[in-house]
Subunit: 109 residues, 2 copies
Amino acid sequence: MPVESARARTLTHADPDEVPLQVALAALADPVRRSILRDLAVHDEWTRACGTFDLPVKKATASHHFAVLRSAGLIEQRDEGARRLNRLRRPEFDSAFPGLLAATIDRAD
Amino acid sequence: MPVESARARTLTHADPDEVPLQVALAALADPVRRSILRDLAVHDEWTRACGTFDLPVKKATASHHFAVLRSAGLIEQRDEGARRLNRLRRPEFDSAFPGLLAATIDRAD
């Protein structure tokens, strides 16, 4: 079994409609995570791989941030070969938390 | 000098326009603090004293929560005799962070 399939199996996603406001706010209350979301907001879906973000943290910490964003229903991830691609779950998250992304990532820190 | 004047002198307030988004989000990312803000949102200004909130925490923890809200530009406090009265800084905070209160305290957790 290829390595990427084994990794893909471990990817769990939260439905934004099932995410408590507390979890959404805790995910957004971090500058590194907001920078990831802003990056995704201005790129086409599924074009940004985890390793290509310019983040001021080590790889393990970055992985943790992506996992937090996934658990909060903010991003969707899928593995394509050795790359883990991302998309911002804008429509779903906006539907579950109207105005929250507009008030947080559509503005500067 | 009366005790209340000495207490009043220690009250420092942050201008919402000077508050970083990170500080605002960190303040809002707590269920007890959101319950305080929701309480203030439905009562007239300066009618709610700190001691009258029904909070699931000890007095010292409650005082900390009020201080965090003050530092984030979310509430204004003033001492009146032995009571510390509060108001939600709705217009100022909404001006500095458009849509953020609507997306967080104008909805259920």
